[in-house]
Symmetry: C2
Subunit: 274 residues, 2 copies
Protein backbone atom coordinates (compact mmCIF):
# COMPACT_ATOMS: atom_id res chain seq x y z
CA UNK A 1 0.00 0.00 0.00
CA UNK A 2 1.35 3.38 -1.04
CA UNK A 3 0.90 6.45 1.14
CA UNK A 4 1.77 10.04 0.35
CA UNK A 5 3.83 11.91 2.96
CA UNK A 6 4.64 15.60 2.46
CA UNK A 7 6.14 15.37 -1.04
CA UNK A 8 6.56 11.73 -1.84
CA UNK A 9 4.87 8.40 -2.30
CA UNK A 10 6.17 5.82 0.16
CA UNK A 11 5.15 2.42 1.47
CA UNK A 12 2.40 3.06 4.04
CA UNK A 13 4.04 0.75 6.57
CA UNK A 14 7.17 2.93 6.53
CA UNK A 15 5.24 6.19 6.84
CA UNK A 16 5.82 7.98 10.13
CA UNK A 17 6.03 11.32 11.87
CA UNK A 18 8.84 12.53 14.12
CA UNK A 19 7.85 12.90 17.75
CA UNK A 20 7.95 16.70 17.81
CA UNK A 21 5.01 16.93 15.41
CA UNK A 22 2.22 19.05 16.93
CA UNK A 23 -0.43 16.39 16.27
CA UNK A 24 1.43 14.09 18.67
CA UNK A 25 2.53 16.76 21.14
CA UNK A 26 -0.55 19.00 21.19
CA UNK A 27 -3.30 17.31 19.20
CA UNK A 28 -3.11 20.08 16.61
CA UNK A 29 -4.26 18.77 13.26
CA UNK A 30 -7.13 18.58 10.79
CA UNK A 31 -8.15 15.92 8.34
CA UNK A 32 -10.74 14.83 5.85
CA UNK A 33 -12.06 11.52 4.74
CA UNK A 34 -13.76 10.52 1.50
CA UNK A 35 -14.31 7.26 -0.28
CA UNK A 36 -13.97 5.73 -3.71
CA UNK A 37 -16.42 3.33 -5.28
CA UNK A 38 -15.07 1.22 -8.13
CA UNK A 39 -11.91 3.42 -8.15
CA UNK A 40 -13.91 6.65 -8.49
CA UNK A 41 -13.85 9.29 -5.70
CA UNK A 42 -17.32 10.30 -4.57
CA UNK A 43 -18.10 14.02 -4.09
CA UNK A 44 -14.35 14.76 -4.06
CA UNK A 45 -14.71 18.50 -4.59
CA UNK A 46 -17.00 18.83 -1.59
CA UNK A 47 -14.51 16.99 0.62
CA UNK A 48 -11.60 19.06 -0.64
CA UNK A 49 -13.60 22.25 -0.02
CA UNK A 50 -14.09 21.19 3.58
CA UNK A 51 -10.44 20.14 3.98
CA UNK A 52 -9.19 23.55 2.82
CA UNK A 53 -11.79 25.23 5.02
CA UNK A 54 -10.75 23.28 8.14
CA UNK A 55 -7.10 24.12 7.44
CA UNK A 56 -7.91 27.78 7.03
CA UNK A 57 -9.98 27.95 10.23
CA UNK A 58 -7.05 26.50 12.23
CA UNK A 59 -4.58 28.71 10.32
CA UNK A 60 -2.77 25.82 8.67
CA UNK A 61 -1.53 26.07 5.10
CA UNK A 62 -2.20 23.08 2.86
CA UNK A 63 1.17 22.55 1.08
CA UNK A 64 -0.45 21.46 -2.21
CA UNK A 65 -2.99 23.01 -4.53
CA UNK A 66 -6.38 21.42 -5.10
CA UNK A 67 -5.24 20.26 -8.55
CA UNK A 68 -2.07 18.72 -7.11
CA UNK A 69 -4.13 16.89 -4.50
CA UNK A 70 -6.38 15.47 -7.20
CA UNK A 71 -3.36 14.23 -9.16
CA UNK A 72 -1.84 12.62 -6.05
CA UNK A 73 -5.16 10.93 -5.28
CA UNK A 74 -5.47 9.71 -8.87
CA UNK A 75 -1.97 8.24 -8.69
CA UNK A 76 -2.72 6.49 -5.39
CA UNK A 77 -5.92 5.05 -6.87
CA UNK A 78 -4.00 3.69 -9.83
CA UNK A 79 -1.08 2.32 -7.76
CA UNK A 80 -3.00 0.86 -4.81
CA UNK A 81 -5.77 -0.70 -6.90
CA UNK A 82 -8.42 -0.77 -4.15
CA UNK A 83 -11.78 -0.37 -5.84
CA UNK A 84 -13.78 0.54 -2.73
CA UNK A 85 -11.60 2.53 -0.41
CA UNK A 86 -11.44 5.40 2.02
CA UNK A 87 -8.90 8.20 1.68
CA UNK A 88 -7.66 10.06 4.73
CA UNK A 89 -5.92 13.42 4.24
CA UNK A 90 -4.20 14.71 7.39
CA UNK A 91 -2.56 18.07 7.99
CA UNK A 92 -0.75 18.74 11.27
CA UNK A 93 0.85 21.71 13.03
CA UNK A 94 4.28 20.42 11.92
CA UNK A 95 7.57 19.93 13.74
CA UNK A 96 7.54 22.56 16.43
CA UNK A 97 10.89 23.51 18.02
CA UNK A 98 9.14 24.70 21.20
CA UNK A 99 6.51 21.93 21.10
CA UNK A 100 3.73 24.56 20.99
CA UNK A 101 3.85 27.10 18.15
CA UNK A 102 2.52 26.00 14.78
CA UNK A 103 5.33 25.32 12.34
CA UNK A 104 5.51 24.22 8.69
CA UNK A 105 2.67 21.64 8.46
CA UNK A 106 3.15 17.95 7.84
CA UNK A 107 0.73 16.51 5.32
CA UNK A 108 -0.08 12.94 4.43
CA UNK A 109 -2.64 10.80 2.65
CA UNK A 110 -3.54 7.23 3.54
CA UNK A 111 -5.81 4.89 1.58
CA UNK A 112 -7.49 1.85 3.05
CA UNK A 113 -10.08 -0.70 1.89
CA UNK A 114 -13.57 0.04 3.13
CA UNK A 115 -16.73 -2.01 3.25
CA UNK A 116 -20.00 -0.15 3.49
CA UNK A 117 -22.94 -1.49 5.48
CA UNK A 118 -25.29 -3.56 3.32
CA UNK A 119 -29.12 -3.47 3.34
CA UNK A 120 -29.16 -6.00 6.19
CA UNK A 121 -27.13 -3.63 8.38
CA UNK A 122 -29.51 -0.84 7.39
CA UNK A 123 -32.48 -2.95 8.47
CA UNK A 124 -30.82 -3.84 11.78
CA UNK A 125 -30.32 -0.16 12.57
CA UNK A 126 -28.45 0.99 15.68
CA UNK A 127 -29.02 1.91 19.33
CA UNK A 128 -27.57 5.13 20.66
CA UNK A 129 -26.97 6.86 23.97
CA UNK A 130 -26.75 10.59 24.67
CA UNK A 131 -23.85 12.55 26.20
CA UNK A 132 -23.58 16.27 26.92
CA UNK A 133 -20.67 17.70 24.95
CA UNK A 134 -19.93 20.14 22.14
CA UNK A 135 -16.71 19.94 20.12
CA UNK A 136 -14.28 22.86 20.45
CA UNK A 137 -14.46 23.98 16.82
CA UNK A 138 -17.62 22.27 15.55
CA UNK A 139 -17.12 23.54 12.00
CA UNK A 140 -13.57 22.12 11.81
CA UNK A 141 -12.79 18.48 11.11
CA UNK A 142 -9.95 18.47 13.64
CA UNK A 143 -8.14 15.37 14.88
CA UNK A 144 -9.43 15.99 18.42
CA UNK A 145 -11.59 12.98 19.30
CA UNK A 146 -10.50 12.76 22.93
CA UNK A 147 -14.08 12.68 24.21
CA UNK A 148 -15.39 10.45 21.41
CA UNK A 149 -12.68 7.81 21.85
CA UNK A 150 -13.06 7.99 25.64
CA UNK A 151 -16.83 7.44 25.36
CA UNK A 152 -16.41 4.15 23.44
CA UNK A 153 -16.25 2.53 26.86
CA UNK A 154 -19.62 4.03 27.85
CA UNK A 155 -21.16 3.04 24.50
CA UNK A 156 -20.07 -0.56 25.05
CA UNK A 157 -21.23 -0.58 28.68
CA UNK A 158 -24.70 0.42 27.51
CA UNK A 159 -24.62 -2.17 24.69
CA UNK A 160 -25.18 0.72 22.29
CA UNK A 161 -23.61 1.40 18.90
CA UNK A 162 -22.90 5.10 19.08
CA UNK A 163 -23.22 8.23 21.22
CA UNK A 164 -25.02 11.42 20.24
CA UNK A 165 -23.73 14.70 21.67
CA UNK A 166 -26.13 17.32 22.98
CA UNK A 167 -25.46 20.69 24.60
CA UNK A 168 -27.77 22.93 26.61
CA UNK A 169 -30.76 20.75 25.70
CA UNK A 170 -30.11 20.66 21.95
CA UNK A 171 -28.84 17.63 20.08
CA UNK A 172 -25.74 18.16 17.93
CA UNK A 173 -23.92 15.28 16.23
CA UNK A 174 -22.26 11.91 16.71
CA UNK A 175 -18.47 11.91 17.08
CA UNK A 176 -18.17 10.81 13.41
CA UNK A 177 -21.68 11.22 11.93
CA UNK A 178 -24.53 13.70 11.63
CA UNK A 179 -28.02 13.16 12.98
CA UNK A 180 -31.42 13.58 11.32
CA UNK A 181 -34.96 13.09 12.63
CA UNK A 182 -38.44 12.97 11.15
CA UNK A 183 -41.27 14.71 13.00
CA UNK A 184 -44.83 13.39 13.40
CA UNK A 185 -45.77 15.78 10.58
CA UNK A 186 -43.22 14.14 8.27
CA UNK A 187 -40.72 16.98 8.26
CA UNK A 188 -37.06 15.99 7.93
CA UNK A 189 -35.02 17.95 10.50
CA UNK A 190 -31.31 18.19 11.33
CA UNK A 191 -29.32 20.50 13.64
CA UNK A 192 -28.21 23.65 11.82
CA UNK A 193 -25.40 24.91 14.03
CA UNK A 194 -22.45 23.74 16.11
CA UNK A 195 -22.01 20.57 14.06
CA UNK A 196 -19.60 19.47 11.39
CA UNK A 197 -21.04 20.14 7.96
CA UNK A 198 -21.00 16.53 6.82
CA UNK A 199 -20.80 15.91 3.08
CA UNK A 200 -23.28 13.02 3.30
CA UNK A 201 -25.48 15.33 5.44
CA UNK A 202 -25.34 17.93 2.64
CA UNK A 203 -26.20 15.37 -0.05
CA UNK A 204 -29.03 13.86 1.98
CA UNK A 205 -30.44 17.36 2.51
CA UNK A 206 -30.32 17.85 -1.27
CA UNK A 207 -32.33 14.70 -2.00
CA UNK A 208 -34.66 15.27 0.97
CA UNK A 209 -35.60 18.76 -0.23
CA UNK A 210 -36.98 17.23 -3.44
CA UNK A 211 -39.24 14.85 -1.51
CA UNK A 212 -40.17 16.32 1.89
CA UNK A 213 -40.42 19.42 4.01
CA UNK A 214 -36.91 19.99 5.42
CA UNK A 215 -35.73 22.15 8.30
CA UNK A 216 -32.19 22.86 9.43
CA UNK A 217 -32.65 24.24 12.94
CA UNK A 218 -32.10 23.67 16.65
CA UNK A 219 -33.59 20.35 17.85
CA UNK A 220 -34.14 19.63 21.52
CA UNK A 221 -33.45 16.27 23.16
CA UNK A 222 -37.20 16.00 23.85
CA UNK A 223 -37.99 16.51 20.18
CA UNK A 224 -35.52 13.77 19.28
CA UNK A 225 -37.12 11.40 21.75
CA UNK A 226 -40.55 12.13 20.26
CA UNK A 227 -39.42 11.81 16.63
CA UNK A 228 -41.02 9.05 14.54
CA UNK A 229 -37.78 8.34 12.71
CA UNK A 230 -34.12 9.07 13.51
CA UNK A 231 -31.06 8.29 11.41
CA UNK A 232 -27.40 9.11 11.04
CA UNK A 233 -25.41 10.04 7.95
CA UNK A 234 -21.72 9.41 7.40
CA UNK A 235 -19.26 8.93 4.58
CA UNK A 236 -18.66 5.26 5.30
CA UNK A 237 -22.20 4.42 6.45
CA UNK A 238 -24.39 6.51 4.15
CA UNK A 239 -27.66 6.38 6.14
CA UNK A 240 -28.28 4.14 9.17
CA UNK A 241 -31.61 4.13 11.06
CA UNK A 242 -31.43 4.82 14.81
CA UNK A 243 -33.94 2.45 16.36
CA UNK A 244 -33.44 3.24 20.05
CA UNK A 245 -32.31 6.29 22.02
CA UNK A 246 -31.25 5.59 25.62
CA UNK A 247 -33.07 2.23 25.35
CA UNK A 248 -36.35 3.87 24.31
CA UNK A 249 -37.68 2.70 20.97
CA UNK A 250 -37.84 5.23 18.10
CA UNK A 251 -41.22 5.03 16.30
CA UNK A 252 -42.15 1.36 15.99
CA UNK A 253 -38.52 0.26 16.36
CA UNK A 254 -38.04 -0.45 12.64
CA UNK A 255 -36.43 1.64 9.86
CA UNK A 256 -38.98 4.30 8.91
CA UNK A 257 -40.55 4.96 5.55
CA UNK A 258 -38.90 8.34 5.03
CA UNK A 259 -35.47 7.09 6.17
CA UNK A 260 -35.77 4.20 3.70
CA UNK A 261 -36.83 6.43 0.82
CA UNK A 262 -33.91 8.81 1.54
CA UNK A 263 -31.54 5.85 1.63
CA UNK A 264 -32.76 4.72 -1.78
CA UNK A 265 -32.63 8.25 -3.17
CA UNK A 266 -29.08 8.64 -1.85
CA UNK A 267 -27.99 5.40 -3.54
CA UNK A 268 -29.43 6.76 -6.80
CA UNK A 269 -27.57 10.05 -6.35
CA UNK A 270 -24.36 8.11 -5.74
CA UNK A 271 -24.78 6.23 -9.00
CA UNK A 272 -25.22 9.47 -10.93
CA UNK A 273 -22.00 10.82 -9.42
CA UNK A 274 -19.88 7.74 -10.09
Amino acid sequence: MIAFVNNEFIEAENASLGLTDLSIQRGYGIFDFFRTSNHIPLFLDNYLDRFFNSASLLRLQVPHSREDLKQIITEMISRNKIADSAFRLILTGGYSPDYYEVSSPNFFILQQPVQLPDKKKFDQGIKIILHEYMRDFPQVKSTNYLVGVYLQHKVQQHKADDVLYFKDGNILEFPRSNVFAVTKEGTVITPAENVLQGITRMKVLEVARKLYAVEERAITVDELKNAVEVFLTSTTKRIIPVLAVDNVKVGDGKPGEITTSLYNAFLEMEKINL
Copy 2:
Protein backbone atom coordinates in the same frame (compact mmCIF):
# COMPACT_ATOMS: atom_id res chain seq x y z
CA MET B 1 20.33 13.06 22.18
CA ILE B 2 18.89 9.75 23.31
CA ALA B 3 15.13 9.21 23.50
CA PHE B 4 13.28 6.21 24.86
CA VAL B 5 10.58 4.72 22.60
CA ASN B 6 8.44 1.83 23.87
CA ASN B 7 11.25 -0.52 24.94
CA GLU B 8 14.46 0.94 23.69
CA PHE B 9 16.82 3.87 23.75
CA ILE B 10 17.26 5.40 20.31
CA GLU B 11 18.60 8.61 18.80
CA ALA B 12 15.89 11.23 19.31
CA GLU B 13 16.18 12.40 15.70
CA ASN B 14 15.24 8.89 14.52
CA ALA B 15 12.33 8.54 16.94
CA SER B 16 8.95 8.44 15.22
CA LEU B 17 5.44 7.08 15.34
CA GLY B 18 3.61 5.28 12.56
CA LEU B 19 0.72 7.24 11.11
CA THR B 20 -2.02 5.02 12.53
CA ASP B 21 -1.15 6.03 16.10
CA LEU B 22 -4.23 7.42 17.86
CA SER B 23 -2.39 10.56 19.00
CA ILE B 24 -1.99 11.51 15.33
CA GLN B 25 -5.36 10.20 14.13
CA ARG B 26 -7.59 11.14 17.07
CA GLY B 27 -5.56 13.26 19.50
CA TYR B 28 -5.78 10.50 22.08
CA GLY B 29 -2.80 10.74 24.41
CA ILE B 30 -1.56 11.90 27.79
CA PHE B 31 1.80 13.16 28.92
CA ASP B 32 3.75 14.64 31.78
CA PHE B 33 6.60 17.03 32.01
CA PHE B 34 9.17 17.51 34.75
CA ARG B 35 12.59 19.04 34.93
CA THR B 36 16.05 18.30 36.21
CA SER B 37 18.33 20.79 37.86
CA ASN B 38 22.02 19.90 37.85
CA HIS B 39 21.08 16.37 36.65
CA ILE B 40 18.61 15.81 39.51
CA PRO B 41 14.88 15.39 38.80
CA LEU B 42 12.72 17.75 40.83
CA PHE B 43 9.59 16.37 42.57
CA LEU B 44 9.77 13.28 40.32
CA ASP B 45 7.39 11.18 42.41
CA ASN B 46 4.69 13.83 42.20
CA TYR B 47 4.99 14.00 38.42
CA LEU B 48 4.92 10.22 38.09
CA ASP B 49 1.83 10.09 40.33
CA ARG B 50 0.09 12.48 37.99
CA PHE B 51 1.26 10.63 34.87
CA PHE B 52 -0.14 7.33 36.13
CA ASN B 53 -3.33 9.11 37.19
CA SER B 54 -3.84 10.75 33.76
CA ALA B 55 -3.26 7.36 32.08
CA SER B 56 -5.75 5.67 34.36
CA LEU B 57 -8.42 8.35 33.82
CA LEU B 58 -8.17 7.90 30.03
CA ARG B 59 -8.00 4.09 30.44
CA LEU B 60 -4.47 3.79 29.09
CA GLN B 61 -2.01 1.32 30.58
CA VAL B 62 1.53 2.61 31.22
CA PRO B 63 3.74 -0.21 29.84
CA HIS B 64 6.40 0.25 32.53
CA SER B 65 6.39 0.24 36.32
CA ARG B 66 7.25 3.34 38.30
CA GLU B 67 10.62 1.81 39.22
CA ASP B 68 11.37 1.00 35.57
CA LEU B 69 10.53 4.57 34.60
CA LYS B 70 12.92 5.90 37.21
CA GLN B 71 15.70 3.66 35.90
CA ILE B 72 15.05 4.75 32.30
CA ILE B 73 15.10 8.39 33.37
CA THR B 74 18.33 7.87 35.31
CA GLU B 75 19.93 6.28 32.26
CA MET B 76 18.80 9.15 29.99
CA ILE B 77 20.22 11.66 32.49
CA SER B 78 23.56 9.87 32.48
CA ARG B 79 23.70 9.41 28.70
CA ASN B 80 22.40 12.80 27.55
CA LYS B 81 24.38 14.84 30.09
CA ILE B 82 22.07 17.87 30.12
CA ALA B 83 22.28 19.39 33.60
CA ASP B 84 19.15 21.53 33.37
CA SER B 85 16.58 19.76 31.28
CA ALA B 86 12.91 18.99 30.82
CA PHE B 87 11.64 15.43 30.45
CA ARG B 88 8.50 14.70 28.46
CA LEU B 89 6.76 11.35 28.96
CA ILE B 90 4.05 10.65 26.37
CA LEU B 91 1.57 7.79 26.26
CA THR B 92 -0.77 7.43 23.28
CA GLY B 93 -3.75 5.29 22.29
CA GLY B 94 -1.42 3.14 20.16
CA TYR B 95 -1.66 1.81 16.62
CA SER B 96 -5.37 1.41 16.02
CA PRO B 97 -6.47 -0.90 13.17
CA ASP B 98 -9.79 0.95 12.83
CA TYR B 99 -8.26 4.38 13.56
CA TYR B 100 -10.60 4.82 16.55
CA GLU B 101 -10.49 2.13 19.26
CA VAL B 102 -7.68 2.36 21.81
CA SER B 103 -5.01 -0.25 21.17
CA SER B 104 -1.74 -1.22 22.86
CA PRO B 105 -0.29 2.19 23.87
CA ASN B 106 2.85 3.72 22.45
CA PHE B 107 5.10 5.27 25.07
CA PHE B 108 8.09 7.52 24.73
CA ILE B 109 10.33 9.85 26.69
CA LEU B 110 12.10 12.90 25.31
CA GLN B 111 14.65 15.06 27.08
CA GLN B 112 15.52 18.62 26.08
CA PRO B 113 17.61 21.44 27.53
CA VAL B 114 15.60 24.03 29.39
CA GLN B 115 16.36 27.50 30.62
CA LEU B 116 14.25 28.86 33.42
CA PRO B 117 13.29 32.55 33.59
CA ASP B 118 15.79 34.56 35.67
CA LYS B 119 14.98 37.24 38.27
CA LYS B 120 14.84 39.87 35.50
CA LYS B 121 12.05 37.92 33.73
CA PHE B 122 10.28 37.64 37.07
CA ASP B 123 10.48 41.41 37.56
CA GLN B 124 9.20 42.07 34.01
CA GLY B 125 6.14 39.91 34.67
CA ILE B 126 3.59 39.18 31.97
CA LYS B 127 0.37 40.52 30.45
CA ILE B 128 -2.54 38.18 29.95
CA ILE B 129 -5.88 38.07 28.19
CA LEU B 130 -8.99 36.07 29.11
CA HIS B 131 -10.85 33.50 27.03
CA GLU B 132 -13.94 31.47 27.88
CA TYR B 133 -13.07 27.77 27.74
CA MET B 134 -12.77 24.72 29.96
CA ARG B 135 -10.66 21.73 28.97
CA ASP B 136 -12.51 18.45 28.31
CA PHE B 137 -10.89 16.47 31.14
CA PRO B 138 -9.43 19.20 33.35
CA GLN B 139 -7.86 16.69 35.74
CA VAL B 140 -6.04 14.89 32.90
CA LYS B 141 -2.80 16.13 31.34
CA SER B 142 -3.95 15.12 27.87
CA THR B 143 -2.22 16.09 24.63
CA ASN B 144 -5.29 18.07 23.54
CA TYR B 145 -4.16 21.71 23.23
CA LEU B 146 -6.22 22.51 20.15
CA VAL B 147 -7.71 25.64 21.73
CA GLY B 148 -4.49 26.72 23.46
CA VAL B 149 -2.37 26.48 20.30
CA TYR B 150 -5.12 28.16 18.28
CA LEU B 151 -5.27 31.06 20.76
CA GLN B 152 -1.55 31.87 20.34
CA HIS B 153 -2.66 34.06 17.46
CA LYS B 154 -5.05 36.02 19.71
CA VAL B 155 -2.38 36.32 22.42
CA GLN B 156 0.04 37.84 19.90
CA GLN B 157 -2.63 40.13 18.41
CA HIS B 158 -3.22 41.57 21.88
CA LYS B 159 0.52 41.87 22.52
CA ALA B 160 -0.04 39.65 25.56
CA ASP B 161 2.07 36.77 26.88
CA ASP B 162 -0.56 34.22 27.79
CA VAL B 163 -4.29 33.51 27.94
CA LEU B 164 -6.26 32.59 31.05
CA TYR B 165 -9.30 30.35 30.62
CA PHE B 166 -12.54 31.10 32.47
CA LYS B 167 -15.89 29.35 32.36
CA ASP B 168 -19.30 30.54 33.56
CA GLY B 169 -17.72 33.55 35.26
CA ASN B 170 -14.99 31.63 37.13
CA ILE B 171 -11.32 31.69 36.22
CA LEU B 172 -9.66 28.30 35.69
CA GLU B 173 -6.11 27.98 34.37
CA PHE B 174 -3.71 28.92 31.59
CA PRO B 175 -3.21 26.35 28.82
CA ARG B 176 0.09 25.29 30.44
CA SER B 177 0.11 26.97 33.88
CA ASN B 178 -2.00 27.46 36.98
CA VAL B 179 -3.18 30.82 38.28
CA PHE B 180 -3.03 32.35 41.76
CA ALA B 181 -4.24 35.68 43.11
CA VAL B 182 -3.83 37.65 46.33
CA THR B 183 -6.86 39.41 47.78
CA LYS B 184 -6.87 42.86 49.38
CA GLU B 185 -6.86 41.05 52.74
CA GLY B 186 -3.64 39.24 51.82
CA THR B 187 -5.20 35.82 51.27
CA VAL B 188 -3.56 33.65 48.62
CA ILE B 189 -6.29 32.10 46.43
CA THR B 190 -6.31 29.64 43.53
CA PRO B 191 -9.13 27.82 41.70
CA ALA B 192 -9.96 24.48 43.35
CA GLU B 193 -11.79 22.65 40.59
CA ASN B 194 -11.79 22.04 36.83
CA VAL B 195 -8.06 22.72 36.55
CA LEU B 196 -5.01 20.54 36.15
CA GLN B 197 -3.46 19.82 39.53
CA GLY B 198 -0.11 21.40 38.74
CA ILE B 199 2.89 20.11 40.68
CA THR B 200 4.32 23.63 41.04
CA ARG B 201 0.82 24.73 42.13
CA MET B 202 0.87 22.02 44.81
CA LYS B 203 4.34 23.02 46.04
CA VAL B 204 3.51 26.74 46.06
CA LEU B 205 0.38 25.95 48.10
CA GLU B 206 2.61 24.07 50.56
CA VAL B 207 4.96 27.00 51.08
CA ALA B 208 2.09 29.53 51.02
CA ARG B 209 0.24 27.73 53.84
CA LYS B 210 3.21 28.29 56.14
CA LEU B 211 3.18 32.04 55.49
CA TYR B 212 -0.32 33.24 54.60
CA ALA B 213 -4.01 32.50 54.69
CA VAL B 214 -4.68 30.24 51.70
CA GLU B 215 -7.95 29.32 49.98
CA GLU B 216 -8.55 26.82 47.18
CA ARG B 217 -11.97 27.77 45.86
CA ALA B 218 -13.96 29.21 42.96
CA ILE B 219 -12.68 32.64 41.88
CA THR B 220 -14.73 34.94 39.68
CA VAL B 221 -13.30 37.01 36.85
CA ASP B 222 -14.29 40.13 38.82
CA GLU B 223 -12.36 38.93 41.84
CA LEU B 224 -9.31 38.35 39.62
CA LYS B 225 -9.59 41.85 38.22
CA ASN B 226 -9.77 43.30 41.73
CA ALA B 227 -6.90 41.22 43.10
CA VAL B 228 -3.83 43.11 44.36
CA GLU B 229 -1.47 40.44 43.03
CA VAL B 230 -1.82 37.74 40.38
CA PHE B 231 0.75 35.16 39.33
CA LEU B 232 1.12 31.91 37.43
CA THR B 233 2.91 28.73 38.39
CA SER B 234 4.44 26.21 35.99
CA THR B 235 7.17 23.58 35.90
CA THR B 236 9.41 25.54 33.56
CA LYS B 237 8.56 29.01 34.86
CA ARG B 238 8.17 28.47 38.63
CA ILE B 239 6.30 31.70 39.54
CA ILE B 240 5.75 34.63 37.17
CA PRO B 241 3.85 37.78 38.23
CA VAL B 242 0.87 38.74 36.06
CA LEU B 243 1.04 42.54 35.82
CA ALA B 244 -1.92 43.22 33.51
CA VAL B 245 -5.20 41.45 32.74
CA ASP B 246 -6.91 42.54 29.51
CA ASN B 247 -4.68 45.64 29.54
CA VAL B 248 -5.80 46.63 33.06
CA LYS B 249 -2.95 46.92 35.55
CA VAL B 250 -2.90 44.43 38.46
CA GLY B 251 -2.18 46.26 41.76
CA ASP B 252 0.49 48.88 41.09
CA GLY B 253 1.72 47.05 37.98
CA LYS B 254 4.81 45.63 39.70
CA PRO B 255 5.51 42.19 41.18
CA GLY B 256 3.77 42.12 44.56
CA GLU B 257 5.25 41.48 47.98
CA ILE B 258 3.50 38.17 48.55
CA THR B 259 4.30 36.89 45.05
CA THR B 260 7.95 37.76 45.61
CA SER B 261 8.08 36.08 49.01
CA LEU B 262 6.47 32.93 47.57
CA TYR B 263 8.98 32.95 44.72
CA ASN B 264 11.85 33.10 47.21
CA ALA B 265 10.29 30.45 49.42
CA PHE B 266 9.80 28.20 46.36
CA LEU B 267 13.48 28.61 45.38
CA GLU B 268 14.41 27.54 48.92
CA MET B 269 12.13 24.53 48.71
CA GLU B 270 13.71 23.56 45.39
CA LYS B 271 17.19 23.62 46.95
CA ILE B 272 16.06 21.32 49.75
CA ASN B 273 14.70 18.84 47.19
CA LEU B 274 17.79 18.80 44.96
